[in-house]
């Protein structure tokens, strides 16, 4: 029978079919971080249970780590520090490998997984973080879980799962210059809404997806959860194999083992006649840069449009839109390109990889950040930071007036000191524009790295396609 990519991976990981119709799905890689793991380890201790396969769990710290050099050595926030120290203790006690603040490979969990070669086609990956969908870019079944499930994986290396549906998202056509993977995924979320993918695993297909680099594919898969889908996947191809084969990836196969793995990975793409529960097609030929205007990622439009009138937005009630615009401090009818920004954040598991920083640096090169605008550039990992510095990108950013930081989640969710102040407005390359996400009262507009960098220079949003 013809199978989808998802079905092939699912079938190979069913350790046991249970009487109630669920399965025990075997987990190949378990990634953990400081925020959602402490209570899981506490649960193990209380029940006297060991970690079943400690070598299959890898830890880092990212959510609440400071991104300024002096703070990293001595974290001022005692509660943040305690959470980080607890992760260190748990990893030591249970024999889990940790890439901590002293490691040259520390970074956002979804950035370092691929870098280290932990993320491989055909495997299952879970993490107590909803952006685990990122790893699906490799043809991996990867999804976010809660802390009870983290404990379940630690204790059993499996998860109890009900099989999700399949949803194919076909991106046809070719992206125009200045339009990016971020715009593709924002357009999808604007089309299906923030719950359009609930209950499904997305598979992204089509010529526009095939043309994307690995890093761009990760940007697309990363935001699958913002469309309600726990996982989003892209079939592995030569782009994938090339990424895995290159560089210092200590967990990836090498030599004969790599050849053997690639031969297997080539069998993973969905069979041509495999059926999906749902399919949607999005033409990217005329896609414009996207900017969110509201308080969830589905509230998004072309940069050329105007702030919408309440009652005119499909999928949202008049009250929803009124509340969103009130929070965002926006007046209907205002052109998005007239909206000024106070803060620009370039980073996160969505857009904190080296290609993102290169594209932002190209925009900034030889220019100055607009007066009064604060710009934070936060590499997604220490490896990304070192690579960027080797290419002198840090110098470009600093010369333009940006702050150049150490790796972490930073202002994507503002658990560390990097936060928006009340009513500050940001252009952000992150993934969520929820109320208060980047700081209480902060107003977030999600955009691509190019759009964020251009907004930093201009002091307001611009249509990057017309950027000279």
């Amino acid at each position: 029978m013809a199978k989808t990519l998802f079905q092939k991976i699912w079938d190979r990981h069913v350790a046991k079919e249970l009487a109630d119709g669920t399965v025990l799905l075997y987990i190949d890689r378990h990634l953990i971080h400081e925020v959602t793991s402490a209570q899981a380890f506490e649960g193990l201790r209380l029940a006297g249970r060991p970690v079943r396969r400690p070598e299959l769990t890898v830890a880092t710290m990212d959510h609440n780590v400071p991104t300024e050099a002096k703070e990293r050595k001595n974290i001022a926030d005692a509660i943040s520090r305690a959470q980080i120290e607890m992760l260190e203790k748990n990893c030591k006690d249970f024999g889990v490998t940790l890439y901590g603040l002293d490691s040259e490979r520390q970074g956002i969990v979804h950035i370092i997984g691929p870098e280290l070669g932990l993320t491989l086609p055909g495997t299952t990956i879970v993490c107590g973080d909803s952006h685990t969908s990122t790893h699906g870019a490799f043809g991996t079944l990867a999804f976010g879980i809660g802390t009870s499930e983290v404990e379940h994986v630690l204790a059993t290396q499996t998860l109890r799962q009900t099989k999700p549906g399949t949803f194919r998202v076909d991106f046809m056509g070719r992206l125009r210059p200045g339009v990016t993977a971020k715009d593709m995924i924002l357009k999808l979320i604007g089309t299906i809404g923030t719950s359009g993918g609930t209950g499904s695993v997305l598979e992204y297909t089509g010529e526009a997806v095939r043309a994307l680099s690995m890093e761009e594919r990760m940007t697309v898969c990363n935001m699958s959860i913002e469309g309600g889908a726990r996982a989003g996947m892209i079939a592995p191809d030569d782009t994938t194999f090339d990424y895995v084969s290159r560089g210092e990836r200590p967990f990836a196969p090498r030599g004969a083992a790599l050849d053997q793995a690639i031969a297997y990975w080539k069998t993973l793409p969905s069979d041509p006649d495999a059926a999906f529960d749902r399919t949607i097609t999005i033409d990217v030929d005329k896609l414009a840069p996207q900017v969110t205007w509201g308080t969830n990622p589905g509230m998004v439009m072309d940069v050329t449009e105007r702030v919408p009138e309440p009652g005119s937005v499909p999928g949202y009630s008049r009250v929803d839109v009124e509340k969103a615009l009130d929070y965002m401090g926006l007046t209907p009818g205002t052109p998005l390109t007239d909206v000024p920004v106070n803060v620009v954040f370039i980073g996160s598991c969505t857009n904190g990889r080296i290609e993102d920083l290169r594209r932002a640096a190209m925009v900034m090169s030889g220019r100055q950040v607009a007066k009064g605008v604060q710009v934070l550039v936060v590499p997604g990992s220490e490896s990304v930071r070192k690579q960027a510095e080797a290419e002198n990108l840090d110098k470009i950013f600093k010369a333009a007036g940006c702050e150049w930081r150490f790796a972490g989640c930073s202002m994507c969710l503002g658990m560390n000191p990097d936060q928006l102040k009340n009513q500050q407005r940001s252009a952000s390359t992150s993934n969520r524009n929820f109320e208060g996400r980047q700081g209480k009262g902060g107003r977030t507009h999600l955009v691509s790295p190019e759009m964020a960098a251009a907004a930093a220079i201009a002091g307001h949003f611009v249509d990057f396609r017309e950027w000279k």
């Binding site: 506490e42 967990f251 990836a252 969520r432």
Partner: protein, 215 residues
């Protein structure tokens, strides 16, 4: 886990769609390494005005909803992050049930709850009930007519009885796996460990593709 069989108490209305986990529990409360102490953090920012004082307009602050154990909300509740802290906050604030509508919009089903929130709920004895939108509207209307109205939720019978001006009973659907887990208050890990032998034999023939461990 506390089993869920039958609960009786006040219903509080929260008439908002797409309530995300950042609102349910703002990030500053995710730094705790304990499993308790989250009740006070529920809707922390929504409960307060700009000056930090409690907002009397917010339903959860109002006297007649003070001891509510059932929350009725709009679609896609709990979207956003995977933080189980959101469910801990709801449960530790005293709630046992959240009711939300499934809608049909342009031919597509808009779910009542986000996936991860629903999955986290069952592991903490929180019953999430999905109803057609018309039924949820009925509950909102009944609360408007009788603020502080109580309801009885019976999981065995799959019924909600609203004790408003007169008693009205609404039947709900729930998948049998979730129902069984809640009714018996099952510990998933203990249940799974009963299959440890099968997991071991699966591992013997399964390739995780993990080729190396760094020095």
């Amino acid at each position: 886990m506390t089993p869920f069989v039958k609960e009786h108490g006040i219903v509080v209305p929260l008439d908002r769609a797409n309530v995300d986990t950042d609102q349910i529990i703002p990030k500053q409360f995710l730094k705790s390494i304990r499993r308790t102490g989250f009740g006070e953090t529920l809707f922390f920012d929504w409960k307060r005005r700009a000056d930090g004082t409690l907002d009397p307009e917010f339903p959860l602050n109002q006297a007649h909803f003070k001891d509510a154990i059932i929350m009725v909300v709009r679609n896609n509740f709990g979207c956003g992050s995977s933080r189980e802290h959101a469910v801990w906050a709801v449960v530790q604030a005293g709630f046992r049930v959240v009711i939300a509508p499934t809608r049909v919009l342009d031919g597509n089903r808009v779910p009542a709850f986000a996936d991860i929130f629903a999955s986290n709920s069952v592991k903490n004895g929180l019953l999430t009930i999905e109803l057609p939108e018309t039924e949820v509207d009925r509950i909102f209307d009944a609360i408007t007519a009788t603020p502080g109205m109580k309801a009885t939720v019976d999981l065995t019978l799959q019924t909600i009885t609203l004790h408003g001006a007169k008693d009205e009973t609404i039947r709900f659907e729930i998948d049998s796996i979730r129902k069984d887990h809640l009714l018996r208050g099952l510990d998933d890990i203990a249940l799974t460990l009963e299959h440890a032998t099968q997991i071991t034999s699966f591992e013997a023939k399964h390739d995780t593709q993990l080729r190396a461990q760094p020095a």
